[in-house]
Symmetry: C2
Subunit: 442 residues, 2 copies
């Protein structure tokens, strides 16, 4: 059934919700020509009360109860921007069940309920779009799902969280320690009052799970994403990596997809200063996708912010509207998901990469021999050793010991950890080993 | 009308054509699940004779005459990979007229006949896809057209040609002069025997015209793209910019889109060493798109190569197949083009940017005063002056004179050219002024 007018219900009128309403006003003629139909914002909904209505010709109805929107038979597309698990989950499932198409920015919901959401969409013949869930205004979801459709996606890695990227930028460029950089980020509006979600890598893990599920056709579960945040990162290592190794510290989400197995992890990562990620500033995100045919493709842009996220939501709305107008929406699911396809997670201990290890030791002959013996026992091969003179600014900055930095060749995580555990018990070692991962095989 | 099997005719079995055939074999199950239909390669066509048939289950028919493919009523999608203007134009128009959908990689054709092609597609109700025409495997066409659909696109700039990027890389990193770097590129397979199309910026201009037309909804004509290649670029300036200014030389295509006016140009451009483009290597392409809502978005990936281009072509084929299977293909045109919308080109002389000027002068007091007087007369404001000591390696490398480099603030092209013309007539000036443009307002 074709439609001349497509009706939209907007649930959640926070920053992004208002941005969406604004775009639907200011760019409407362009949007409608792309959708091939009139687009009408029929409802706005927010449990906290009516927002300042966007100026313009459209005067949407307002409600505090999302059920009014989902139950209205005139509504074709529900935009879910309330975030979190509930009532978002109930709302999206109810909307899909009543064959309303959904555009959402909710990565937490998608990461946790990927299977349920995908199956609900398939069964109802309604579409679930989520461009804004990862990478803000960057069209990476569509890029992976459609633009790279001809490819088997083998690897994705990215700077997926703007808050941590901002904090790491301040630590790298301004030499701030983590606490000071976090405070700066909060003052600049780049970090929440409770920053746990961002700094512990939870937000990045959500996004990685979404990307991995999308790219694999299987459901990559959140609990299979190994995760380490940046809150215990010492600015000394960030500084040393840059000054002595020419490397930059970024919080990366990395997923590798094999035929039956996968690995997914979020952790602080050292990358070469010449990598395109090295200069990704502030709240920007960047995502590399490796396809078997296209090779490396990178997407880059604002990962947060009102209008960037709104751009992604409204682009979804346009493409949903186009299909609604056409009478074809939902005939083919947006995402290929087959519950029968199961990929096994590779245990983190078995993952191979290069490692950065910083030991803090007493200044005495034979220390290096003791340390390297334990690495050798675990068959961890050393690629370089950097012992900083205690008279140098970098050397003096480590209190209570001499810093020795060892870079390894590729080695399994488990062996390196075992070596570090043994080394930490040595009498000549003063502090717990700092262990970071290196990605320079791009 | 729905279809269970979608039939494809492939015209042009060169490198990319064979890559397309290969992908349609190796990744077929994945492709078919995404298309929601069986996909069958019905024809291959090449005027030079039958190519080595791709291994696998599909045994396409072969012909030397493209008319066999276009006239076959069973064919749903024609893949045009012969390149050039004719017979490509006749073929594509004939295919569209008989309501066959077309996927093409032919940027020359699109740039020259954008209006005719778009109107033909609109009138026939057939779709014309062209992801592979710009940026090889990078899904930038879809990104602009769909992922950023909510935006007014205000600016696009990019490294659009891999050959020149390779040559400039060798000049920058290995200090080769243009002729040696070109020879290296030819030996490495990155440049054609006749490299004119690439090194004179013609290929980049084609791609820029396609991007600009796509983003604006108007037709940006090739003759309105100002163009300067890299063949007269002196490695001295490339080297100086890097060593003394921290800037990297790239051949950029730049388009700015206003409400009624636009500018489009391709020329060697100095960009800051910290810009994400600075490290774009070898045959890679990178494209920045500035949307009013999304802000800056960058796409990056392999701009050339068999499988990268094939990835783009086959992704198009999947989305065409999806719509053919669905019975909805062509109900809305892929590209918004309205012949009534006309944008006027801003004359190149009026364009504002920062400039790099290198004068080669005699070593005598008062030279700088003479030069700067002519700049002042044209109201061109200087941001910095660099006079290289003739004893230094850089200074000594310029024969027959002393190099004086002047960077300007933003100034109109025409005024700078007029100043340079006058300066070149001075008795103290030994060689024609080198004039490059700077883009650092990113």
């Amino acid at each position: 059934m074709k439609k001349d007018v497509v009706n939209i219900g907007l649930v959640g009128c926070g920053t992004v919700g208002l941005g969406v309403a604004k775009l639907l006003q200011t760019n409407l003629p362009v949007l409608e020509s792309k959708a091939g139909a009139k687009m009408r914002l029929l409802w706005t909904c927010d449990k906290y009360g009516k927002p300042v209505p966007p100026r313009g010709v459209q005067k949407p109805r307002f409600t505090r109860d999302w059920r009014d929107v989902v139950n209205d038979p005139h509504v074709d597309i529900v935009v879910e921007l309330i975030g979190g698990y509930e009532p978002a989950r109930t709302l999206v499932l109810a909307a899909l069940k009543s064959r309303k198409h959904v555009a959402t920015a909710n990565k937490a919901l998608l990461a946790k309920y990927w299977g349920e959401m995908s199956v609900a969409a398939q069964q109802s013949g309604a579409l679930l779009y989520f461009e804004a869930a990862v990478g803000g205004g960057i069209p990476v979801i569509q890029g992976i799902n459609e633009g790279l459709a001809a490819n088997r996606i083998e690897k994705i890695y990215g700077i997926l969280n703007g808050t941590t990227n901002y904090i790491l930028g301040r630590m790298t460029e301004d030499g701030m320690d983590f606490a000071a950089a976090l405070k700066g980020a909060q003052e600049a509006g780049f970090a929440e009052a409770d920053p746990t979600f961002d700094i512990e890598g939870i937000d990045a893990a959500h996004k990685l799970a979404v990307l991995a599920s999308l790219a694999s056709g299987a459901w990559i579960r959140l609990e299979d994403v190994t995760r380490e945040g940046i809150s215990s990162l010492d600015v000394w290592d960030v500084h040393f990596a840059r000054e002595r190794l020419g490397m930059v510290t970024k919080l990366l989400g990395i997923v590798e997809l094999g035929k039956d197995r996968f690995s997914a992890r979020v952790h602080p990562t050292l990358i070469p200063g010449t990598h395109p990620f090295a200069n990704v500033p502030r709240e920007y995100n960047a995502i590399f996708v490796h396809g078997d045919a296209a090779g490396d493709v990178m997407f880059y842009g604002k990962g947060a912010g009102q209008m960037a996220a709104s751009s992604a939501v409204v682009s979804d709305v346009i493409y949903l509207a186009r299909q609604v107008a056409n009478g074809t929406a939902g005939q083919i699911p947006y995402v290929t998901y087959n519950p029968a396809v199961q990929l096994k997670p590779i245990p983190f201990d078995q993952l191979q990469c290069r490692h950065y290890l910083r030991f803090t030791t007493v200044d005495r002959p034979g220390v290096l021999a003791q340390i390297t013996r334990f690495l050798a026992r675990q068959k961890v091969s050393i690629s370089s050793v950097h012992q900083e003179d205690t008279e140098s600014a970098l050397g003096a900055a480590v209190r209570g010991g001499v810093p020795i930095v060892v870079l390894t060749h590729k080695a399994p995580e488990g062996r390196v950890r075992e070596a570090a555990r043994n080394i930490d018990r040595l009498a000549v070692v003063r502090r717990k080993t700092v262990h970071l991962r290196i990605e320079d095989s791009f």
